[in-house]
Every structure is written in C-alpha cells, then in structure tokens.
Symmetry: C2
Subunit: 190 residues, 2 copies
C-alpha cells in the first residue's frame, strides 16, 4: 500500500478534480488523500497544472483508444456513430471529471480549465473529421464540410448531455443514440 506513489497521487488528484474542480483542489488536499507528503507530489510532477494536464491527457488517450477500437470498418457510418457514442457514454467516472470541468469553465472561467476543454474538443473534432471524411469518400454520407459537421455533432452531444439533462433530467444511452440517428443521420423529413 506504500508503493506506487505516483499512481496514488494521480488517483487522488483525479477524484478531487472530479469532485471539487481544478481551482478548489489544493495540493495539500491531494497529498492528504494520496497519503503522501506534499513534497512527494513534486518529485513526480513539476506543478499543479502539469499534474492536471497529465490526468486530462490520459483521459483523452483512453477515450481516443476506446473510440478507435470500437470503430468497425465493415459497419455503416451510422452504426459506427452508435458504437462510438455508446462506448463514450459508458465512461461514467471519467465523465464526472469532464462534466465538472465544463461547469467550472462556464461558472468561473478558470483559464487552465478552459484550455484543457479546448484541447479535448480539438481532439474530438479531429477524430470525427477524419471519420466523416472517409464516410464522404465512401459515399456513406452526403458531401459536407467535415470539420463543421464534426463541430455540429459535438455541439449536439454537449447540448443533450449538459444542457438538456440539466433542465429535464438524464437521458439514457438508447435515447441519445436514437436522437442522433433521427436528427443528424436520417433527418426529420419524410
């Protein structure tokens, strides 16, 4: 239990960031939770921001890997959107951090947090853009600006998860998948 202090620190920091946000998490707190002296944190991480960045980077990596993994080149575009969405929606614990960060960015505008969100969104948009480009080339979907389409998909997702849920209670995975299918893939028109 006294080994792998690095991991202990990362875990403690992740929990604290998820629960209280970036600004409200103190290094003393992280040290206390991780059961290490504060100095120990600085033997592994240059400063608070780097600790934060490492946590977010590995979250981004995990998500990208998962998404990459779940894509089936044989399946249709719509099916792949489904699969990726579903997997994404299962990231509940990591999601807690994301949700907290969106909240902190909105309510307090902490710069380090806004930067990190930009970074996350950039990765998501790039990932989606590539998929969309391929789907256009293969004729699976209509020609469109891939970056803007990625942007619209992300905005729809964020709107549903953060804004709609905040006012109307949570949506389950199937519901969200159905909504993407209806609004973006198939379209409303008969």
């Amino acid at each position: 239990m006294a080994i792998d202090r690095r991991k202990q620190i990362l875990e403690a920091a992740t929990n604290s960031f998820s629960l209280f946000g970036y600004k409200a998490t103190t290094m003393d707190q992280v040290a206390k939770i991780a059961n290490v002296g504060k100095g120990t944190i600085y033997t592994f991480f240059k400063n608070k921001e780097e600790l934060f960045d490492e946590i977010v980077s590995s979250l981004i990596n995990e998500m990208t890997l998962e998404a990459e993994e779940v894509i089936d080149p044989e399946a249709t575009f719509s099916e792949n959107v489904h699969r990726a969405l579903f997997r994404l929606l299962e990231f509940r614990k990591e999601h807690k951090l994301t949700i907290k960060l969106y909240q902190e960015a909105r309510e307090m505008g902490t710069p380090a947090v806004s930067e990190v969100i930009d970074r996350m969104e950039k990765v998501v948009i790039e990932f989606l853009s590539h998929r969309i480009e391929k789907a256009i080339l293969s004729g699976a979907i209509k020609p469109c600006n891939p970056e803007m389409t990625a942007f619209v998909l992300l905005k729809l997702y964020v709107s549903l998860i953060f804004d709609w849920e905040r006012a109307h209670g949570p949506l389950d995975k199937d519901e969200i998948a159905h909504l993407f299918e209806l609004y973006i893939i198939k379209g409303l028109s008969n």
Copy 2:
C-alpha cells in the same frame, strides 16, 4: 425633436445596451444620449430592469410577429424553416443586442441578462414546438418530441451563429439555411 421622449429613451437605451451591454449601461448615459434629464426616464419606466425588459419584450414580439407572418401554411416544413430562418437573419440591428446579451451572460453572468435570455429562448422553443407538432400531425416530418426538437434546432442555430462564427468568421444566410437543410431536415445519410 423635443417630443415623444419615451421613444427617444427606448432608442437610446437599445443602442447603449447593444453596444455596451446591460451592466455597463448607466442611466445617466441613457439620459444623455436621449437628451432628457435622468428623472424623465423614471416617469416612463419604474427602473432600469423594467426599461430593459420592455426593450426585450418588444424585440421578442417583433420577432414572433415576423416569424408568424412569414410562415406559409401551404409551403412544406423545410421551406417554412428556411423562410423563418432567413427573416430571422435579417434582424441585424436587433441581433446586435441579442449577441451582446449572450456575450454578457457568458462572460459576466449578469442575472438580469440571463433571465432575459431564458425568456427569449422559452418563447422561441414554444413557437417552434407548435410548428413542429403541426408538422408531425400533417406527416411532413417524422414523429419526435416537439420540445426537444425545438431545443435542438435552437442549439444548432446558436452554435452556428455564436460559437462557429466566433472561431471561423461569419456564415452567410444561404450557408446557414443549407446547413439546417443538410443536418436536420434531410440528414447526412445517403
């Protein structure tokens, strides 16, 4: 030029709110621009917030009227969405106020401003909901939750006008109309 002080005041306040926002507009300033004594404002409006509310209310009324007017019961749903959107996008001056208010709500979270935005969005969503309900009943579009669909349409609009434009420069009317057609009405799938 010394008559209809009420109108002068409304105009001065509208300009100042559009240019500087709600908080940064002072009653002395409004009086100065409107060429009236400050006391005069209070013979027509109980306080700053009521002056603001009246301006926003008439903006909402104008918009609803315009939208109502532009709807053609004979035309298709998609065409009506187009027409309404186009008309909306012509509201450039009033739009300035809306844009400033969104900015102020985001950056400073002024309560009076956030309330007003909620009010505006509620009206828009109610208006859209009714149209969508009718379109579902007439079979013009697929069955869906009208309120949520209205919400998604609004969010797409706001995302494009405020978020995308902020990062990538303005979109022209035809482009926006085309995007609505592509993403929401027809869908991406081939």
